[in-house]
Structure formats: C-alpha cells, structure tokens
Symmetry: C2
Subunit: 415 residues, 2 copies
C-alpha cells in the first residue's frame, strides 16, 4: 500500500474543518488590523534562502534541480519570499505596507511531536516603517491572534537585539564571530560562549556583565538597565502596548533570535503547555530587502507556528465541534427520488447545507447515514406527503417531527 | 535582483483578496452540498503518479530525490493523493464519502496564457457509490460552483467512456492499444486514428460507425443511440439533473478524457471566452483505489481549474471590488498618539477593521494614506475633541464630518 511521505500529514474532514475554522479566525484578525494577504510560490530559487540564512540552511532544505537545471528549494519559511516579492513588485507602494500570509513550509528534519517536514505558518510583515509604533502594531496583532484562538496560557517576552549586539561590539567581538556567540547566548549556554569570548580577548568582567544582561528579565522596570536610544525606544513601545491594552509580558533582554538580519526589537511567545518545544511565535524588526537586490527597508514581522499553536490548544482541552449539515433528505421509496433531488437542490439554493441519499438506500439505512453526517434535520419524502406538496421534517436533536409544506421548508429550517 | 521561479506567481493584495473571495464561494457551495474538505501533502511518492498516469508523467513532474534517497514529486493533480489518503485512512468510513479540496498543483511545462507551473485546483470526489445519482450530484456541484462564481457563458458536455470503450473492444481493438486510440479520438484526430485502427484490422465500416458515434452531440434525444444499460443509466442521470434544475447541457458521446481509469460517465465544462485553452472543469466516474493497494471502489470526481476560471471571469468583465477598511485613525499631534492607539484597539476589538498611523506622520500625509488604503471613515483624534472624550469622524465617500463620543464610535460606524 502506498503511503504518504514521512513527516507529512493528511488532514481528514474533522481535523481540516477545525484547521480552516482557526485559519479563518487568524485571517479575520489580520484584516481587522488593516493587514492584507499575499501569497508566494511553494518553491523559490535556493539562493534566496542561502542569502537569508547562510549556506548551512541547505542541509535542512528540500532543495533540488528542476528540469531546466535551476537550483530550487521548497520554502522553509515565508519572510524571505515575502520580502523578495516586495523587492520585485511592491517597492514603490505607499508605506507602511502591511502584509500577512498563511501557507505550507518545508524542512527536512527528523519528524517529532509538533515538528513536521511539511508545516504551516501564519505570519505578518510591516514593511517600510521603523518606529516603536510599528513594533507595537506587530506585537498587538500577534497577541490578538493568540487571544482570538482562545489559547489560555501563553507568555510574551520582548527584547532588543540591537542593544546586545552593541554590547558585544563594545567588548571587542568581531562581526564574523557575532552570529556564533549570539546563538550560544540564545540558548543561555554561557559555558560554551565563555571560552570563545575569552579567546577573543574579552575580560571576565565584561563577560559577566553581558551574561547578567542577557539574564535580565522582568517588568518594564528592567528597561532602566537599557541605556540611551534603545531604552527610550522600548519605553515608547511599552507605552503604546499599554494604550492598546497589552500588559502581561516580560521584558527579556536575553531574547536573541537566531538570525543576523534582526536589528532592534525582538519578541517571542511561548505556550508552556507544550513543554520543550514551546515556542509558538517569534518575530522582530529587521532589514532584509537589500540582500535581495532592493534598497534597505526597515520592517517588523513575525510568524506563528500554526500546527504548534493548534497542538497547544488541544493540550489545553479547547474543543472544536464539527458543524455537520442542516438537512438530510430521505426518499421513502425509489419513485420519490426525483422529488428528493428537487427538494435538495431547492434547499441548497437557499443557502442551507443539505445532502440526500445517492446510493439507492432504503429508508432505515439512509436515516442512519443522516446521523453519521451529523444532520440537524431529516426531511422524509414520501408519496402521501407529496400529495399535499409536503414532507415530514424531523428535528434530530429533539426527535420531534411534523408535516411541513415544501414551500415553507426553507423558512422552517432557518428559524 | 532575485526573481521568483519561472511559471510561478506572486499574489499581491488586490489579486489575493479576489482569489480568497472566490475560493470562499467555492468552499461554501461544496459545504452546502454536504462535501467536506480534506488536504494532502504538497509532495508524494513519485510512484503514486506513475501508477495513475503511466511513466511518461515523469516528464511533466517536478520529481526529485529527498535527502533520504526517496523519489518524491510535487503533486500534478489532487485525485490520486485524495484516493491514496482514502485507502490509507478512510476506507472503513460509511459511504458515500464526499470530499473536496483546494490547493496548488505543479507541472513542469512551458508557461503560457492561463497555464502555470504552479497552478490551483478546486476539486471534489464522491467515493464508494456508483449510481446515476452519484454522477448527477458531482455534475450539480460543478455547475453550482460555476454559477456561484457568476461566470456567464459556459458549456457542459456529458458523455460515457464505457460505451466507447466497449465499442472499440467489439471491433477488436486490443486493450494495449486502447489508450492511444482514445487519445486520438479525444482530439477528433480521425486521420491519425484511422491508419492505426486499419493496421489492427478494423473495417472501414466499423471505423465510420465509431467516428460517427464520437461525433454524436445534442440534447437528451441522442441518448436513443446509446444501447443497453449505459443508455438507461444516462437517461436516469438526465432525469436527476432535470429534477435539480440542470438542463442546458449537451450529451456528447465524444467526450473521452485522457486517462485509463475512467469507467463510465465523463463530463467537461468549457468557457468559450478562453479560446483555445477553454476547458475549466473535467471529471467522471472512475476506479483508482485498487491501483494504490486498496479494494476496488467506485468513485466520481471532478476538478476545476481555479486560475483558468478566474481568467474566464476576468475576460467576461466580472469585476471584484476590494473591501478596504472601515476606519483609519489619525492622531492630530504626537501627544494624541496614545489615544489614537487606544481607540484603534477598541474598534478592532469590536470587530471593526481599523488602522492608524505608525510612522509619525503629520495629519495631511496620514489622511492621504487613509485614501490609499480605501478607508470608509477617518477618525481624527485631536486634543480639543479628546477633552470631551470625542473624535471627529469623517465619512470618506460623502465628505461629511461630525463630532462623535468615543463611547458611541462603534455604534456610529456599524450603523
């Protein structure tokens, strides 16, 4: 028996309905915030992702040559393609450009709980603006999305990569060692970062100061430890968030984010219920367009791991109930089938979700199928009832049934 | 400047909004018919598509080896993956199983008008039923979808591949030559089919009769020329379609469809406005599950070329108007920005789509941006108005403006 590829999923009707329901909620929040949806291809020139993340990314990509010998790769994320699209087609549009997207991404890695080779991301980018208001807008959207989904417990942490980067430059870390050290600091692996920094000539004193800085976490009061412009910037951000009713977050000066192109504010959201793989959202301000041949443009964006957040909701016991259909139409005998078909078509035209037997089943079996598909009503089409242009309508939850004129059926069901 | 891969597209906000709008309409019609959505991975084991279409399909596929040396391919269509999913996960579900799907497919072919390397299909499969009612249901769904989109001119042709196949067997065409001859007949290439049939020993008389048969097209009266069970089957189908209000189609005994696995009724829909590449929908009854390691299960399905039908609608002059947003909030000066942020957050929470300036712009520029994003109202947040907990609300279409209490803003805008 032929199977689906490892690390991928099939979404059966119940699960798919749940996913579309929550996808729709995320989309509607984004639209309410004035963001507009875009889409880019499933694959891109591999070079795009190498430019963003360095050549090591190739190890994790589904990369291949097409028949025209072009190096292409299934997209591992959606920020680079979106900024590529902006550089190609949208760079002259009035700023800020507020975009969102939802789609599959692909990573060749070992499948494990909540990690798939084909996974889904919902994300947003605010392009062409570099103010605290911009970051506040991105964070407010992320929070509103998570709230809209109904996730009960989550933790938002906000930091500033620019300050940390400056501190590392100040103690003499060369640009080429920056990424490596940031990665260690991201994991709080001070025992690994220490020796590297020592070799680079950083004093124990400076090191301690940096480790203390990245361990700084707390309310807005910790912003007192952030000097100069970034401190003011973060205080304005905190004030905007407060105006928008967003308060329950931590300032965490150790939020690093892996990639070179982040410039200022960075943020992450975790769902504690997920245990080790708990990050459900990450973002920050960055410049990326200049790497792809455009002008340097400041942006802020984030991505939500759609699979991960759905898993968190499931673990929190948030249940989604399938909608079912409104009416199942049962012909009592073969000679009422044309009338059953006519009534079914009429109800559907009126916007009522409706199904009917197409397998030539006898009434009992058809009634059983009506329960299987979770129908609210059953309309029984019999010869006697048809003589008075009526059907018997049964309410499947109460079990009550009554004779209803076909001409009044729509009204009766919509009521 | 790095570009998107050849034959793929970026969907910018206006186009994407239009696509989501019509995608939503198709989804809602399918749900109204009692179909439920499913999704399968973007790539599958290459073998799946070879089993469906023969090894030649490889020439058109984006096929490659993953890092685990597995032969995988980006899906060129969605019927085989859906039936694979059915065989793997759903074979014990109560029948009929009514599924629909929407997603990207991929073909490596020369890009041309209305043909892309990444394209979108909307399709449906009715699994586990083999009655005229089943085919009628599939055809009715396809027609209702096309009607719902508002396409004005389209042509539905219904045929029966089983009859033609039997006729070819009767005149002595061996099974191994069947596909080749059916392909010629599909294109009405009688001058190519003739010589092949002659070599196979088919008499001129029999040939003429077959060519006359595949040239038979007309109303339900041509069903008189279809003998035996298939004739009765098609007459019942016509009666069901009529009960569902579907009449304006042709019976075309020359509708062939390329693939071996079609068994009975086949149908196609064309949009004449598209010229040469006019087919927008194709489907029929088939058995495919046994090829993938399952039991033989009768099914009927169809796919709509989403890009193609949108192109047809565009050519017919059907316009889609972008929604825009409800309110743009303009702070008059920097000291009213926190209030602007508060009011924006309040409106969004009430379900109103709302945006505000995040770039520190002065009022004039912010007003201009409000027009750019097509906002119905502008809420002007000034110091004087704030003293009475009010804002100035301007209706952008009439130009009228008035003072509105912030506490009444939601009501005022929703009215």
């Amino acid at each position: 028996m032929i199977q689906r590829p490892r690390g991928t999923r099939d979404f059966l009707p119940d699960e798919m309905e749940r996913r579309r329901h929550y996808e729709g909620k995320l989309r509607s929040v984004a639209k309410r915030f004035g963001f507009r949806e875009t889409a880019t291809p499933i694959f891109e020139d591999s070079e795009l992702f190498i430019m963003r993340s360095g050549p090591n990314i190739l190890d994790e990509l589904y990369a291949f040559k097409d028949k025209g010998d072009r190096e292409i790769a299934l997209r591992p994320e959606l920020t680079a393609p979106t900024i590529r699209m902006f550089v190609n087609n949208m760079s002259n549009e009035p700023k800020p450009i507020k975009l969102f997207y939802f789609g599959q991404c692909f990573r060749y890695e070992r499948p494990q709980s909540g990690r798939y080779r084909e996974f889904f991301q919902f994300g947003a980018e605010l392009i062409g603006s570099a103010t605290p208001d911009t970051d506040a807008e991105a964070i407010a959207l992320a929070v509103s999305m998570i709230e809209e989904l109904g996730l009960k417990e989550y933790r938002l942490r906000i930091g500033h990569i620019g300050v940390l980067r400056q501190k590392l430059l100040d103690v003499g870390i060369p640009a080429e060692n920056m990424a490596e050290i940031l990665q260690k600091l991201d994991k709080k692996a001070y025992d690994e970062a220490g020796p590297i920094m020592e070799v680079l000539g950083v004093s124990q004193n400076s090191m301690d100061e940096i480790f203390e800085f990245t361990d700084t976490i707390g309310g807005v009061e910790v912003l007192d430890r952030v000097p100069g412009e970034p401190g003011d910037y973060l205080r304005t951000l905190a004030s905007r968030l407060s105006a928008m009713g967003i308060d329950g977050y931590d300032i965490d000066l150790g939020v690093v984010r892996g990639l070179d192109y982040y410039t200022g504010v960075v943020f992450e959201v975790e769902a504690p219920v997920l245990g080790a793989e708990k990050q459900i959202c990450g973002g920050g301000s960055y410049t990326l367009s200049q790497l792809f041949g455009g002008e340097e443009v400041f942006s802020t964006g984030f991505a939500i791991g759609f699979d991960r957040i759905l898993l968190a909701m499931e673990k929190e016991g948030i249940e989604y109930e399938s909608e079912g259909i409104d009416v199942y139409v049962v012909p009592v005998s073969d000679d009422t089938r044309p009338d059953a078909a006519r009534i079914t078509a009429m109800l559907r035209k009126a916007g009522i979700s409706c199904d009917t037997d197409i397998m030539g089943r006898k009434m009992g079996k058809a009634m059983k199928y009506a329960s299987t598909v979770n129908s609210k009503f059953v309309a029984i089409v019999g010869k006697t009832e048809l003589e008075s242009e009526s059907v018997t309508l049964r309410d499947m939850s109460s079990g009550e049934q009554k004779l209803v004129l076909i001409s009044e059926l729509v009204k009766e069901i919509q009521f």
